[in-house]
């Protein structure tokens, strides 16, 4: 009887209350409930929906949220098309707390929805749901697929690179190396090769030692004088082996000399000053700065340029690139350093990875072009929501 009386004003206006449904929110840790109810004809910004919740069927019901009835449409939730239908025909609300207390999984909760036309809300019947934890978050499905595909591509290309040689484009900086060494031989002046300031665990140092091997082979052939000042004893030991091997391979073990690689100091600025001093005295014709550098990049490249050396740099130290680019004749930028080392070493793992990354880049490039065109058309034609089906593929919904 009381219920009838409360509903009376609504019935008098010919309005009916929307039918509320409650269910466990999928893809979460079991601490939320999803409420859904259809759109009603009387929705307007002055009409409010009131969501209430309780821990038992009899209440007490506490207010959880109150919002204008022309909001909280399905379209407003950020979720991918494969878990969530967008549209304005239904409203949604995600409940995480009742009266400030977080929901617990496995417990039954009761909810009811009220419509407030300005004279206090009228409520429909209560519905219940039990939040449950889930074992997979389908919103992250695209992330998982991306990972699996990329893993497949990486493994496949490494496997292929082991069987046959994959094409890698020649890095222009490598041609400059030949020229620089030739010039140093002509002038009878030394060549300096620096491997950066990190140890053997760094990818850039490894790349630097691989390039050193190639350069040492050439200097052995030309009988040019190579000098490799070091800041890390372990890197020096590795480079001695590398250079020795290169001279053997070039058929010039007689020209090899342990003193090609020498240790200066591990201290940043003292090392830099010492190398700068040597460069000023010996005026090398070519200077190679490969590997990872910190602030000393500036000092080294500046002095090299001032003695008139051909300088070729290669680093993935992004902050130092501006200095190398301005002071050197050629600079291998970031990944180009790895590419150069993969090109020279022919190591399948390196080449395969590089190729796999290229596939990834090609995919992203294509997606970007299509995505930009599609979303432009979307705005043009006013069909943005349709375009979302495509853009959702590479969207983050975590």
């Amino acid at each position: 009887m009381t219920i009838f009386l409360l509903m009376w004003p609504l019935l008098a206006f010919g309005l009916e209350l929307p039918l509320l449904s409650a269910s466990d929110l999928p893809g979460d840790d079991g601490k939320a409930v999803l409420l859904l109810w259809p759109r009603m004809p009387y929705e307007a910004s002055e009409v409010f929906y009131v969501v209430q919740g309780a821990e038992g069927p009899e209440g007490p019901f506490e207010e959880i949220a109150r919002f204008p009835s022309n909001s909280h449409y399905r379209t407003e939730r950020r979720a991918p098309f494969w878990t969530w239908r967008k549209g304005k025909d239904e409203h949604f609300f995600v409940v995480r707390t009742i009266g400030g207390r977080p929901l617990e999984s496995g417990r039954e909760y009761y909810f009811r929805l009220g419509v407030d036309l300005g004279e206090g809300p009228s409520f429909g019947p209560a519905v219940s749901a039990i939040p449950k934890p889930n074992w997979f978050d389908f919103k992250k499905l695209n992330n998982l697929i991306f990972m699996v595909l990329l893993a497949g591509v990486v493994l496949w290309f490494i496997g292929r690179a082991r069987k046959k040689e994959l094409f890698l484009r020649r890095i222009p900086g490598l041609d400059a190396i030949e020229e620089a060494i030739g010039r140093a031989t002509e002038m009878g002046r030394p060549i300096y090769y620096l491997t950066g300031r990190l140890g053997m665990s760094s990818v850039s140092t490894i790349a630097a030692t691989i390039i050193l091997r190639d350069i040492a082979k050439r200097t052995a052939g030309y009988d040019a004088q190579l000098k490799v000042p070091h800041t890390d004893p372990v890197v020096m030991a590795v480079c001695r082996e590398v250079v020795k091997g290169a001279y053997l391979e070039a058929g010039r073990p007689d020209a090899y000399n342990e003193e090609i690689n020498f240790y200066v100091t591990d201290d940043q600025f003292s090392y830099t000053m010492a190398v700068d001093g040597m460069m000023v005295r010996e005026r090398p014709a070519a200077v190679f700065l490969m590997g990872y550098y910190y602030a000393e990049s500036l000092l080294l490249a500046e002095v090299g340029a001032s003695v008139g050396a051909i300088q070729i740099a290669g680093t993935d130290a992004e902050h130092q690139l501006p200095f190398f680019v301005t002071a050197c004749d050629y600079t291998l930028i970031g990944e180009e350093l790895y590419a150069a080392s993969a090109y020279l070493s022919k190591e399948p793992a390196l080449i395969g990875t590089l190729r796999a990354q290229d596939v990834g880049k090609a995919f992203l490039t294509a997606f970007l072009v299509l995505g930009a065109i599609a979303s432009t058309i979307g705005v043009w034609a006013g069909i943005e929501h349709k375009i979302d089906y495509f853009l959702d593929i590479l969207r983050d919904f975590s």
């Binding site: 490894i206 501006p322 200095f323």
Partner: protein
């Protein structure tokens, strides 16, 4: 071979797969697993930090013992470590003590030695930068010219005096110096940085995958 090579590879594989998959599993059990193992690893990081610090001390100690050129400086390093440690233990590792928050001995060393030393070492770069700019920043070709122009505009828009000069000299132009700088940072600079980021992201994922599948084994150290 089995214990030295395959066991670590298996450990890396299991850990990698489990914690990559954990990301997709919202169940509380999976979150609990992440919390627990992650807590362990914070403790392990403390242990590995000792390794790093100890090897640095070891290399300087070796220099002092061998007495080669510059061994005195290694002794300075050593005295610095021991002195700070002594002061640190006396101050229980805190900068301030008591209700009045008076500076402890460690706080004194920190404020009057560590802060000025480190700050000054890096401030040397201001000088190096000025000279390097003067000696190498030349518009030799289109690339260098673009780099130079961008740097010039950013520097001009970055300081009040630059904005002032812009207003006096180029005030008739609609954009102000700081707006020009803002556009360079937000548009062409951002685009290039994002391109690099995408490449770096792919590289990081590829490297992680190679670690999991035992192709990349640099973490095993020598002979791995």
């Amino acid at each position: 071979m089995f214990l030295r090579q395959y066991v670590p590879m298996a450990i890396a594989f299991v850990m990698g797969v489990v914690f990559a998959v954990q990301y997709y599993v919202p169940h509380p059990a999976s979150e609990e697993l992440l919390t627990t193992v992650n807590d362990w690893l914070i403790v392990v990081s403390g242990f590995s930090m000792v390794l790093g610090l100890a090897s640095l001390m070891g290399s300087h100690w070796a220099k002092v013992r061998r007495g080669g050129p510059g061994w005195g400086y290694s002794l300075v390093v050593f005295l610095g470590i021991l002195g700070t440690l002594a002061v640190g233990i006396a101050s229980k590792g805190k900068m301030f003590a008591g209700e009045e928050l008076t500076l402890t001995a460690l706080g004194w060393v920190y404020d009057n030695m560590l802060v000025p030393l480190q700050g000054t070492v890096f401030s040397l770069l201001a000088f190096f930068m000025a000279s390097a700019t003067f000696r190498t920043f030349r518009a030799r070709n289109l690339e260098a010219g673009l780099l130079l122009t961008a740097a010039f505009l950013v520097m001009l828009g970055h300081v009040p005096l630059g904005e002032y000069i812009w207003d006096k000299v180029l005030g008739f132009l609609p954009p102000k110096a700081d707006q020009v700088m803002g556009w360079i940072m937000n548009v062409p600079n951002m685009a290039a940085k994002r391109g690099i980021l995408l490449g770096v992201g792919l590289g990081m994922i590829a490297t992680s995958l190679k670690i999991i599948f035992g192709i990349e084994r640099a973490y095993m150290g020598e002979g791995g």
